[in-house]
Symmetry: C2
Subunit: 272 residues, 2 copies
């Protein structure tokens, strides 16, 4: 068993989208080993119930925890929205979700006092972003809406396509007169559709993507616990697990991670 | 235990789409009790691997089989495409998939000799429709293509929407000059998008929807085995199981079944 400081940062997501978060962590913390789990056999989580998502999240977290991690990042908005209390209770290591860092950044950034959030059905219905924003600034006006077609459009690769622009307009155009100046991309797939989303809500609206702020939260947490590796020139040590066959994950994941994925291993994530 | 003839017809699908097949069975065979299982905690199957879909299909089939059914209908194109041999081998009762009846109907119907199939990635990649069509008429020319955005569009309820027409054109317009006269809707969600699909492939193309032909195959199989109930005026006996909470299934399912769903029970489908 490694000393805690040398253990990897664990990251899980329902599938591929969380690789955008992993990428930001690897860029900010290049000395840290990472261990990623994509639950590709049960993806997506966004249309499933709170109870089922919590069960799957616990399965994933305990799988990583049993392999020895020093911190867990829940790189899935839906799982962060509904399962964070259950995960924090069950795990011995700190757990960081994607909601809180994104909400804080949005609350700090808004000048007009109107912030909007888009995400899956599960994320929006949970009210997690709405509550986190209110904690940071109770006087904010918050608009929130699910955009279920954005994930399949991103996975289809239609990132700059007339259909995507039309879908974004259909979902978002009625927000243009609302005076919002910050829009939270509350789903790890959405950053790849950022141009179409930005066009639909109009100029003057900043998009907040959780990846960078989550990486900063991870760094701060490691510093606070004395668990940040100071080593330089260490060899990279990144492990990938998936619950379905790796082919599609490896192929599509490259777009999200921005480089080739090293070895990807298929595993069974047992029920607890 | 009921006599075999009084056992229900078992039907499973990855989720909601299979209700269109159940509806056709109930309309053609009103004296038959039915037992439906929608695997809503693991939906969709169309983007998952052959191995994972086969495993889930076996879980579902054995769940229904243990409850006593006289025949199993696999009302999911992806599961029919990849798991039918495994299901037939493991079950004691006859198993009917949706591919074979639809392919037969299409092969009989085509005059031009050009037939097209659309479905999920899993269904199209399996080659199951292509092989079934070739068995019925080796000289057919078969066009096949996955249309991954159709399922989320159907579930979003955008059945008659400019975006859906544009997506259908993007997927299908290059087939217009191909002289096809039959298009198989190789996914149980697609019938609700039939107008947009028909418009995209042009007039003179008949759409084949498996639901009706599957119901006829079920009736024929029951007749052949002497398992068709002749009773009239029997009370309706239809059971619904789902693996996630029933709310969404009950709400969206109504559109597919064409009427309210009687009691829906959430169950765990154990691994075998």
């Amino acid at each position: 068993m490694n000393a805690a400081i040398d253990c990897p940062i664990g990251v899980f997501d329902s599938g591929i989208g969380g690789l955008t978060v992993l990428r930001a962590i690897q860029e900010l913390l290049p000395a840290e080993p990472t261990m990623y789990l994509g639950d590709t056999a049960r993806v997506p989580y966004g249309t499933k119930s709170r109870a089922v998502v919590t069960r799957y999240a616990l399965n994933n977290a305990l799988f990583l925890s049993r392999r020895g991690i020093k911190l867990l990042v829940v790189a899935c908005n839906t799982a962060s929205a509904v399962a964070l209390p259950a995960l924090t209770e069950r795990l011995q290591v700190p757990v960081i979700g994607v909601i809180e860092p994104g909400a804080r950044r949005a609350a700090e950034q808004s000048q007009t006092g109107v912030v909007a959030v888009i995400g899956t059905e599960g994320t929006v219905a949970s009210g997690a972003y709405q509550q986190a924003l209110a904690r940071h600034n109770a006087s904010l006006r918050v608009l929130a809406r699910p955009c279920p077609l954005f994930v399949p459009l991103a996975e289809e690769g239609w990132t700059d396509h007339p259909v995507t622009r039309e879908v974004a307009r259909t979902y978002l155009a009625d927000w243009v007169p609302e005076n919002l100046d910050v829009l939270i991309l509350g789903c790890t797939h959405y950053p790849v559709l950022a141009p179409a989303i930005a066009q639909a809500v109009g100029s003057g609206v900043s998009l907040v993507d959780s990846a960078t702020v989550v990486a900063q939260a991870v760094a701060a947490q490691l510093d606070q616990l004395g668990l940040r590796r100071q080593a330089r020139n260490v060899p990279e040590d990144h492990t990938f697990f998936v619950t379905d066959v790796p082919d599609r994950f490896r192929r599509v994941g490259k777009i999200f991670l921005g480089r080739d994925l090293s070895s990807v291993e298929q595993v069974d994530v047992p029920p607890n």
